[in-house]
Symmetry: C2
Subunit: 194 residues, 2 copies
DNA sequence: CGCTGTCTACCATAAGGTAGGTAATTTGAT
DNA sequence: ATCAAATTACCTACCTTATGGTAGACAGCG
């Protein structure tokens, strides 16, 4: 691995991380290429070298987020054996993403701005949701078998409801500016684990 | 009622309505004073006459939204007697606001952009949530008494969870670009009504 | 040499906002 | 009832800064 190549990857990855943070805290329209450049200590034109247009950035952002997030879900599947443990770990992912109301899941943040995004990005956004809901469905299916989650009707319905609940809980925590609101929003969900 | 005064109120109200639509479809950073002006058929400077700065607009927006929304909730209380009927009407409010994924509750849309809003607006946003959750809590309390909603643990927890669920369902419908996702996100909630 | 990653310098447009003017009304004192 | 003063709701014209984006140069490295 050459130094130059290493530096490129580092810079691009750093820009992506910064952009993610900005987008999740302020929304996709809430930061500019100049913000990214300032933060990374390079010039605006250099940011455009890595991401020609903001549309490209949005796509890279959601693709990267999706990849990292699904990796984490797979890791949960690998390390936790009961449905309840998996569900609690899942909720914890959103709890962390919420950062006490300071931040949101990228997916939630981008959904609001959606109309300004290119078709590729909205498709990736939809795919992210599909994948996560699919994973959750398998958790609830397991929960029906191992009995570690109470009152499961339809696993798919439960998966979709859960997704809605954790995303909504993030919004509530943000609106209230208080981490406790996130906990309150998901309490009925957590209360069902055995 | 003089003609001039009538016209002023009309224009201001129209601007507010337009701004609400824009904010809910594109987020608060997704439209400009120029957009509002074009849409209302007046000049940008005239928009500034009604709302000096965008911060003023954000506050007017959320205040108005809160007023209208709470009115609707009170109307539901006045016309529906069972907790289940009230809950279903509440969900319908969010279903309508979702507009098949094209729009969001103003509160959800503004929460994302929150960091760019003045303190007054974020306070009003928090107050909106507080009020709605309070109303929902009373519905679940009634549900415990009249038995029209199943499996109620703590009314306050249920209220917060419900709020999270309907808001999250809107985000999901938007991300999927499909009204059915909203229904899927709230199905477990609706399924509990008797 | 050719590629990578950065730079300076630029550009057009859009953004939020202000200054000052004007026609039509409304108000208030005579 | 009438007339001046104030107010309302709009206008044109302008300003500053930010924004997304491009062109072209240059240093370092394989």
């Amino acid at each position: 691995m050459s130094r130059s190549k290493g530096r490129q990857l580092d810079t691009k990855a750093q820009l992506l991380t910064e952009a993610e943070t900005f987008a999740r805290q302020r929304g996709f329209d809430g930061f500019s290429f100049a913000d990214l450049a300032d933060n990374a200590g390079i010039r605006k034109a250099s940011v455009h070298y890595h991401f020609p247009a903001k549309a490209d950035l949005s796509l890279a952002l959601i693709d990267h987020y999706r990849e990292v997030f699904m990796d984490r879900l797979h890791q949960i599947t690998a390390t936790e054996t009961t449905a309840s443990a998996r569900l609690l770990q899942f909720v914890d992912l959103y709890r962390q993403a919420s950062e006490g109301g300071r931040s949101l899941c990228l997916c939630v943040a981008l959904s609001v701005t959606q109309s300004a995004l290119p078709t590729d990005s909205t498709a990736a956004l939809a795919a992210f949701h599909r994948d996560v809901i699919g994973w959750l469905e398998s958790v609830f299916r397991l929960g029906g078998r191992d009995g570690s989650i109470r009152q499961i009707s339809d696993p798919r319905a439960e998966a979709q409801a859960t997704m809605a609940q954790v995303e909504g809980a993030q919004i509530m925590a943000r609106a209230a500016g208080h981490p406790a609101r996130f906990e309150a929003g998901i309490a009925t969900l957590v209360g069902r684990t055995v």
